[in-house]
């Protein structure tokens, strides 16, 4: 397997809105920049260039990146940081060793999943995940879909699924109507968002959007066939081919944690220039707070300019960024999880899907470390990415142990075939004493 070593002034991890904006701005300042992203497309989850190249804001930024002279590595998964200013990424052709002066983390977010009976059945998926796959060929025409969980993504996904031919029978938002309405009213500060929301709502005419209700049980033989929902006082059942269920978003902070960046309430702490507590490491977008693509774009631009030393230019964007911070705070408030969701899992409900660890097994544990030692919770192939948000909400456990490799990688990537220095540097603590 071929290994490549690159010397870069700025390395960006993640090619979503924040990463693309950061890379473009740093390249504009004359810096030598590379972007690595673990997917085959540009634009991250929200833009997914392969589906709609050239459209609107996404097309503008993706084209700008393509013309910027930035080296783009798709299908490249950052998995270790064996030495200061060194990042390793696995690609289908071998390992990239990125030697950077400045590093920008734009790792995005993922959907939050909460366990309830039947949530592991095939056909129960994240709304964003299902919609993303529909854009890349997943057959949905004529299928009955219930969309449930929380956050603005539910409406966006329902809209996209309906346009792709799905029969969306219900959008069930767990947050109460009052909170969602207050959030909607506050959108006057962001007319673009208001118009976007109004458009989605108009296209969804005929699809009920019910607040204050949530799924309690999914059932089916080989895959999901029906879902039972409740509004706290009344329960009912909806037949479906898919249950698209996710509870807002959580940040991808594993790489930031591995590098030792200071965190606050699950998010990466940054200063006004998007600099983390670790020298020369910047962070932008969802890892610093769940605020969507517009906020990520501004943060990415600030991070890219700051990483290139263009402090004055970065400062000119502070005002625009501040407006999006209030949008972020509004999201947090409107879509805060209701406590009833902690009661959904039955004793035999799987919480950690990789290791099939059940709720009753976890209830006997005192911490995530304790749970790892006794049940292997969070130690499977996703390395706790799915269950860590759930156990944080259910039990208040923080994931305080992030170790390389950040993703499962080939043995050859770890041993660093034909690259002795990589081999040497990877002698890091092994997870045997977890």
């Amino acid at each position: 397997m071929a290994n490549r070593r690159l010397q870069l002034e700025v390395t960006v991890v993640g090619a979503g809105p924040a990463g693309i904006a950061a890379a473009c701005m740093a390249a504009d300042q004359g810096r030598k920049v590379a972007v690595v992203d673990n997917s085959p497309w540009l634009g991250g989850q929200i833009w997914r260039a392969s589906a709609h190249p050239g459209r609107g804001l996404a097309g503008h930024w993706i084209n700008r990146l393509r013309q910027s002279g930035v080296s783009v590595f798709s299908n490249a998964t950052a998995f270790a940081a064996p030495a200061p200013h060194v990042l390793l990424a696995e690609t289908p052709d071998g390992v990239l060793e990125l030697n950077w002066n400045k590093l920008i983390l734009a790792t995005g977010g993922r959907e939050r999943f909460l366990p309830f009976p039947g949530w592991t059945l095939p056909g129960v998926m994240g709304p964003g995940g299902l919609y993303a796959m529909v854009k890349s060929g997943w057959p949905i025409a004529g299928k009955r879909v219930v969309v449930a969980g929380s956050g603005p993504l539910l409406l966006a996904a329902a809209d996209g699924l309906k346009q792709a031919g799905a029969r969306v029978s219900l959008v069930a938002e767990q947050a109460d109507w009052g909170r969602v309405v207050r959030f909607g009213i506050n959108l006057w500060q962001h007319p673009g968002k208001l118009l976007q929301g109004a458009g989605v709502k108009a296209r969804l005419l005929g699809v009920p959007y019910r607040c204050g209700c949530w799924p309690v049980k999914a059932e089916g033989a080989a895959q999901v066939e029906r879902v039972t929902l409740t509004n706290g006082s009344r329960s009912w059942t909806e037949d479906c081919d898919y249950l698209a269920c996710g509870f807002h978003l959580v940040p991808n902070t594993e790489l930031a944690c591995l590098l030792g960046c200071a965190m606050a309430e699950g998010f990466v702490q940054v200063n006004e220039f998007q600099a983390t507590s670790v020298p020369d490491v910047f962070c932008a977008g969802e890892p610093t707070g769940i605020g969507g693509a517009d906020r990520a774009l501004v943060e990415g631009q600030v991070a890219g300019l700051a990483a290139a030393g263009a402090w004055d230019q970065a400062q000119t964007l502070f005002g625009r960024r501040a407006a999006w911070q209030s949008f972020r705070a509004g999201l947090d408030q409107a879509f805060a999880l209701r406590p009833e969701l902690r009661e959904l899992a039955a004793p035999d409900t799987v919480v950690c899907r990789c290791e099939d660890v059940r709720f009753a097994d976890l209830k006997r544990c005192e911490s995530l470390r304790d749970a790892r030692l006794h049940t292997r919770c969070g130690m499977g192939s996703c390395q706790g990415r799915t269950c860590s948000a759930a156990v944080r909400f259910l039990f208040g456990w923080e994931n305080d142990s992030i170790r390389p490799p950040l993703f499962p990688v080939r043995l050859a990537s770890l041993t660093g075939e034909s690259s002795p220095s990589v081999n040497h540097n990877l002698e890091t603590p092994q997870p045997s004493n977890k």
Partner: protein
Amino acid sequence: MRDQLNILVNGKPVTVPPGTLVAAAVAQAGVSSFHTSVHHEPRGPLCGMGVCFECCVTINGQAYSRSCLTLCEEGMEVQTNG
């Protein structure tokens, strides 16, 4: 670029346009269980974005490949483990 790609999912021919995910082709083949969990429960994709590893299948002999992060290529052979 070809208009259509021909791949095999568990030996069954599936024809898809370029840009189709392997996960989508598996669904088009009518397969819902992509693999089984450590306690042999059927599982399919959950996150659709490379995080959860529930969509893993064998692609051209490479076990444990995330089908939600892999685009179909002409002649690809996909084996689910459900």
